[in-house]
């Protein structure tokens, strides 16, 4: 496929691996923020060909993984109410809550629907005026424009049987939180290319300057990712902490202003709990108070939600780059993609699932 195949060219990728080896003279630790890049790195075996001194850390960039347990429990509780259709993205349906996933709720009688586009849930609400359609709106900046547009469509049409359970998260505050964490050393970031299509790359300049770390905006194919590492190492070796955009075909300095405007019209920034990590200030989006009537959290009283996270799960440490999946005693034994204890084992982007799937079953 055009714009994919060229960036999967084996000869070019191998040449970049060679070059990366030559320019790496000191040990560096680079974090790829985005779970999609984690997936791609493991799928193509990039982690196996990096120079010895280059350590990879997988970041928290998996929206499914960081969606707090409370939100999943709340979604399950709402889905179990009579007359409700709960809709969300396919990968959200398998994530375990305290009392099972949304798919398990479906097996207990809930009407849970999978959508590909958030607009489909609006269509569902129009087609089912006697039902309450609740859309579990999760994601990073990439997904926010679509979810915001769906909210805008429903609210502008005064569609009263539609609501959103919003659990959006923002990437830059999480990067800052990782840099503030004294247990984690990150020398440079690969920034999530698809998030940057919306936010633009200029947004990262303050973080890069404040913490003195290079941030390289990177795509998702092997050539993109190797190019990202190459530039990160070049900037590190040169002692030049700045933002570089290596995903020029998709990312502009200021991102997508139309999308930003719609997000801003529907949502406002809030503190948000990240599963396994805790509350990160100013790291989430929620519906603006003017749209409270479309806010499922306020519309549905499901009582107190007291989430119960499995005690042995180290997903939070993994998401912050403090531990690797294989450091977990449950990894690959009690916890597998079939029987996940934590969300990082569920989403194929989750570091644990990616490690499991691509055979990184031991720490070596």
């Amino acid at each position: 496929m055009k714009h994919l195949d060229e960036f999967r060219d084996p000869a070019l990728a191998r040449a970049l691996v060679e070059r990366l080896k030559r320019i790496t003279t000191r040990p560096w630790t680079v974090m790829e923020v985005c779970g999609g890049q984690t997936h791609s790195i493991l799928r193509h075996g990039i982690d196996q060909v990096l120079p010895e001194g280059l350590t990879l850390l997988h970041g928290p960039g998996c929206p499914v993984c960081v969606t707090p347990l409370e939100t999943i429990d709340r979604a399950v509780a709402i889905a179990m109410q009579p007359g409700v259709i709960l809709a969300s993205f396919g990968d959200m349906l398998r994530v375990p809550g305290s009392h099972g996933s949304l798919l398990e709720a479906r097996s207990r009688g809930a009407d849970v629907r999978m959508v590909y586009s958030p607009l489909e849930a609006v269509t569902l609400a129009r087609a089912n005026p006697d039902r309450e359609v609740v859309f579990l709106a999760i994601g990073f900046e990439t997904t926010a424009p679509g979810n915001a547009m769906a909210a805008s469509e429903a609210i502008d049409a005064r569609l009263t049987n539609y609501s959103q359970l919003v659990s959006h998260v923002l990437v830059p505050p999480a990067m800052a939180a990782i840099l503030d964490d004294e247990h984690v050393r990150v020398d440079a970031f690969l920034a999530a290319g698809h998030v940057c299509t919306i936010t633009g790359w200029r947004l990262y300049e303050p973080i890069s300057a404040r913490y003195g770390v290079p941030i390289v905006v990177t795509g998702f194919e092997p050539v993109d990712i190797l190019d990202g590492f190459m530039h990160a190492v070049e900037l590190l070796e040169a002692g030049s902490p700045k933002v570089a955009n290596r995903y020029g075909r998709a990312v502009q300095a200021d991102g997508n202003p139309i999308a930003q405007a719609v997000i801003d019209r529907m949502y406002e920034v809030c503190g948000r709990k990240w599963r396994g990590i805790g509350v990160i200030p100013q790291s989430g989006l929620k519906l603006r108070p003017a749209y409270a009537a479309w806010d499922a959290e306020q519309k549905f009283d499901v009582g107190d939600i007291t989430p119960q996270e499995p005690a042995e799960c180290i997903a939070g440490q993994v998401l912050q780059g403090r531990l690797k999946p294989a450091d977990c005693p449950a990894f690959g034994t009690k916890c597998t993609p079939q029987t996940p204890l934590g969300a990082t084992m569920v989403s194929s982007e989750g570091a644990c699932a990616a490690w499991y799937r691509y055979g990184r079953k031991s720490a070596t």
Binding site: P10, R14, G36, F89, R94, Y116, G139, P337
Partner: protein, 352 residues
């Protein structure tokens, strides 16, 4: 050359019946039941064993071990590009018998019909079964029909069981797989699973893809007749190529390594999978086989498959090794190996 069954010239007029849809009485054993059998079902499956209308069939089989297999078919939608639940029900069991080395002889067919199913739909499904059975050279020798109330099943469920006879000297199975053997596949993978996925309402994805659904007993015979030392055969249905290879790796306690880019996948299957975040190697096939063949016979086996109408796209995709027992790997463009795991079950489109 098409590698799919083409029934476009096939016509099959619906006999005149008193009802347009399935009634509970069609399953009650009375006049309507008899009517359904005599006028709709029997004309499609004329066989000497079925004709006496006995409770079962008496079969005269050629000598050899009997291969016996059963499968129940549940599919949404009932009709999809390249076939329907009827085509699938015949192909599925014929192929299972053929993969055991059996030459399929006879099928049983059992239907669970939902009250309200249009008889025209049932008839269309029966016609597909007739045409597919004819193509595969198997007779339907016994059967059963039950009707359940509206909402108690999804239109129609079909069970087929099949028996075949394994000629003397034929020995296929995981126990024969050894390090050094090569892995062949008879054509592009994932067509059926992808065609079904996109035919389902809701996803809004359109393709020209057709299910690969086809009876493979002819291909198996052609392959075996080539004289190649074929060790094991399996059709990669649910779970796709990845599931079959993992099952082999575990059962034969060997490693299997696929070559980078060697597995044939149609562009449209790649497109749908990229879009929805799925893996073509996890998508079901209903008209492909995986053959494990002695290394020296790979070319002969490939040539035999490519000469057959259902093997035109046959390819060598990898080899068996003794380095990582129980694990299937795939070489990547970077020259390293990654694990190709079993699929998780339901293929859910993902956004991240």
């Amino acid at each position: 050359m098409s590698d799919r069954p083409d029934f476009s010239g096939f016509t099959c007029p619906l006999p005149k019946l008193d009802h347009d849809t399935v009634q509970m009485a069609h399953g009650a054993g009375g006049r309507l039941s008899a009517d359904l059998f005599e006028r709709l079902i029997l004309p499609r499956f004329t066989s000497p064993e079925l004709e006496p209308r006995d409770d079962g069939a008496l079969l005269d089989l050629p000598p050899g071990r009997v291969a016996f297999s059963t499968d129940t078919f549940v599919v949404t939608p009932l009709f999809f590009p390249g076939g329907d639940i009827g085509t699938l029900a015949v192909c599925g069991t014929v192929n299972d018998v053929a993969m055991m080395g059996g030459v399929p002889q006879a099928l049983s067919v059992a239907f669970v019909l939902e009250e309200g199913l249009p008889l025209a739909d049932f008839h269309r499904i029966l016609c597909s079964m007739e045409a597919t059975a004819k193509k595969a050279g198997v007779r339907v020798v016994t059967g059963d029909t039950k009707v359940v109330g509206r909402g108690q099943c999804d239109g129609i469920y079909v069970n087929t069981s099949g028996i075949g006879v394994v000629p003397a000297g034929r020995d296929l199975g995981a126990h024969r797989i050894a390090s050094g053997d090569v892995v062949l596949v008879s054509g592009p993978v994932g067509d059926h699973g992808t065609a079904i996925l996109t035919a389902r309402a809701g996803l809004g994805v359109q393709t020209q893809l057709k299910s690969d659904c086809a009876p493979l007993n002819g291909l198996v015979e052609a392959l075996l007749a080539s004289g190649a030392d074929v060790k094991a055969l399996r059709d990669p249905t649910r779970g796709g190529l990845a599931a079959v290879l993992n099952e082999y790796a575990v059962a034969a306690r060997v490693g299997i390594r696929l070559d980078d880019g060697a597995v044939p996948v149609r562009d449209e299957v790649t497109g749908v999978c990229e879009m929805l975040g799925l893996d073509p190697l996890h998508m079901a096939c209903e008209g492909r086989l995986v053959a494990i063949v002695a290394a020296g016979d790979a070319d002969r086996a490939l040539a035999a498959m490519r000469d057959h109408e259902h093997g035109g796209g046959a390819a060598r995709i990898g080899a068996v090794n003794d380095r990582h027992a129980g694990v299937v790997t795939m070489a990547t463009a970077l020259g390293v190996e990654r694990v190709l795991d079993m699929p998780l079950g339901e293929q859910l489109p993902r956004i991240c």
